[in-house]
Amino acid sequence: MSDVDVAIIGGGPAGLAAASALKSAGVERVVVLEREAEAGGIPRHCGHPPFGLREFNRLLTGPSYAARLVSSAQTAGVDIRTLTTVVEARAGGNLLLVTPTGVTELKAKRVILATGVRETPRSARLVSGPRVAGVVNTGALQSMVYLTKRRPFQRPVIVGSELVAFSAILTCRHAGIRPVAMIEGNERVTARWPCALFPRLAGVALHTGSRLVEILGDTKVEGVVLEDAKGQISRIECDGVILSGQFTPEAALARSGHLLVDPATGGPQVDQWGRMSDPTYFATGNVLRPVETAGWSWSEGGRTGQWVARDLAGLLPESEPSVRVSVNDHRLRYAVPQNIVLSQDVGGMRDIQLRVAQHVDGELIAECDGEQIWGRKLRAGPEQRVLVQTHEIASACAGRDVALRISEPTD
């Protein structure tokens, strides 16, 4: 017997949207398990716009956007349980939870993993130097500034130039922190225009084509060493380092349990319905891949909620037969979903999502057993999502596994 119909792990935009959609579809017992004291996810500590355009047709700050998502879910009848940590996700939808009153188990007919992403910390980036205080990810800085009203430093450097790095600048300004520099390894800023103008407007020196070589300091950060494209070494005095971006799915539950993880995304392996290797488990939002906006995750969550409702009604095709989709080119970071179920049902994710690792100008091709089955021109940068229609690949592959790669233009 199940305690609930659907348990959703993670109460961010994707999880809350999935929960609301499940309720709208008539599913009765829907719970969101949120380990923080409040649901809402990452937007709770992004104290600045733009949020909510897609969902509420209004320009909101992160916290008010998060509050709206929570209240819509509650209005829809979703049971949101905060301070509830899922410790283990076991086969068949059995969850082991820690709650404020103790350890308990929860059995769900379906589980949706919506645990989002986090930035790569210093350790996994292998950054050289002593282990000093004052090195944080943007997420930690945002929580300190917006949730606990604190600041860990006053003159940091910001490493990276994805969209989140610009959120870091806004967060700093709110807290009276003056970033002294933004460092980007590539020749251009990763986030799209007009972000590139922003550091200059905010008075932050921009060092593109520069690599963070080492963090200096005794007990606290005292400076960083950079190396530019010509191999020139320089030193910047600062009292903190914000390591921004390089997102990675928070997929520990899948990784440490029985669920298969894709090394390319770092998230669970799913089919076009977001269904994992144990078909009682689904995934949605940024745990699928790094990284999309809150708005995108919210839409994705809503669709996943509908698919799971269909699955509960016995209306999704079986997981097999399926083909595997993978990337076979260092310029392609990943492809999601990793499995395409071959079925008359054309529902599920309309598109395979791809990301490139660097600027690419060539042809994206799909191959089965070394034979090209599909291709199209591709010009994209690392900040852009690349979409390939799922049904085009499914119908061209003739039941064989698909590898995606980039071919240089032939003429």
């Binding site: 990810n137 600041r151 860990p152 928070e250």
Partner: protein
Amino acid sequence: MDQSLFDVVVVGAGVVGCAVARRFTLEGARIAVLEKSTDILDGASKANSAILHTGFDAPEGSLELACIRDGYAEYQTIRDSLGLVQDNAGAYVVAWTQDELRNLESIKAKAHLNGVTDVELVDAETLRAREPNLSRNALGAVHVPGESLIDPWSAPHVYLRQAMENGAKVFTSCEVTDGGFDGAEWRVVTTNGTLRTRHVINCAGLYGDTVNRALLGETHFEVKPRKGQFVVFDKAASGLVSAIILPVPSETTKGIVVFRTVFGNLAVGPTAEEQDSRTDASTDEETLKALIADGINKVPALKDMPVTATYAGLRPASEQKEYRISATSEQNWITVGGIRSTGLSGALGIARHVYGLYENMGASHDKLPDPVIPKANMLSEAGLRDWKQDGAGEVVCHCELVTRREIEAALHGPLPARSLAGLKRQTRATMGRCQGFYCSARLAELTDGCFVSAMAEKLPHE
């Protein structure tokens, strides 16, 4: 500071100082422990491979071997009462080349000579059956069943707590700067004031020679810091090996080890890098990459495992291989120096040996008849962690499942954490996959006013 006369002042609260303080307290001596850092275990003891060694490969007939053997034996007897963990993982000394393969027989012979008689040779096929994720390049191994995994911080922490709860005084942020002996009594000058004591035991680790020079006026050894870097892989990797994977050792180092931890991680390290600095525990990208590559060579499935943490430790080696333990009887002084790499394994044995030297100086006490026995922090995955118990309240660090109750206990307990590093060693907060991405803000709030150097300051305009 306390102006009464102590029997013994222990300089340094690393693993050796903690074990010495415990032994002397249990024997009935009145002890003060002086630690220059804000928290104990902040020098050489903060970073090691967390293995309780049997001594199978220690130099024959050495004091080090005797201390490891005694330390190992005592750990077995006090483990359950103090609530200490021991994962009997066992170890394989793996041969990766034909030369190394030829060496295995002599490693086994040495182990037997050292009294570790359960050591056996294992052929490639058996090794593969027992450790299926090990690279096919493994040619054979020596199996050392007694090598174990322990908690490198909770153990010394409870040694010192047992000393404290039976009367020892501990002073942190208290650096010894000077001192003098008048033939009967030492005057030990610290940054916090002066203490009086009959004897001094120098357990200052990386600063052993400096403390000797400052107070004795001379030193019989020089500390030669040797850095070791480590890479810790995601917890999912811990299932890849069951035993500790040791290399065939060289003259200077045990070499790079692949080992699980009782916290549920898998780590690779340490390197052995000679350096002059006693404080610089930097990691460097190139070395970490080489360690990762070494790990993947030995356990190919590590290729898809993310890195959770990296760290470096400094071993207080000296210009000789042997421990540099000596008594200066005419000055009531004992130096416990040069504990180059086996401090965690040897500490309890070293403490007994040092108490013997102390008695040889003519000192004696009456053993405590009924000592208080505290319980160690339980941070092992396999143990009864706090989150598994009712009323733990909030889980603050989600990656390592550290509860608010544990954090508050560490901040307000008998050896209060006064730095994030100290809190980490007592609770594991921020030591997991996200390294503080999720919980730093909450921790900054919970530790407000507790740390010598705050994690973050309050916003001026809020």
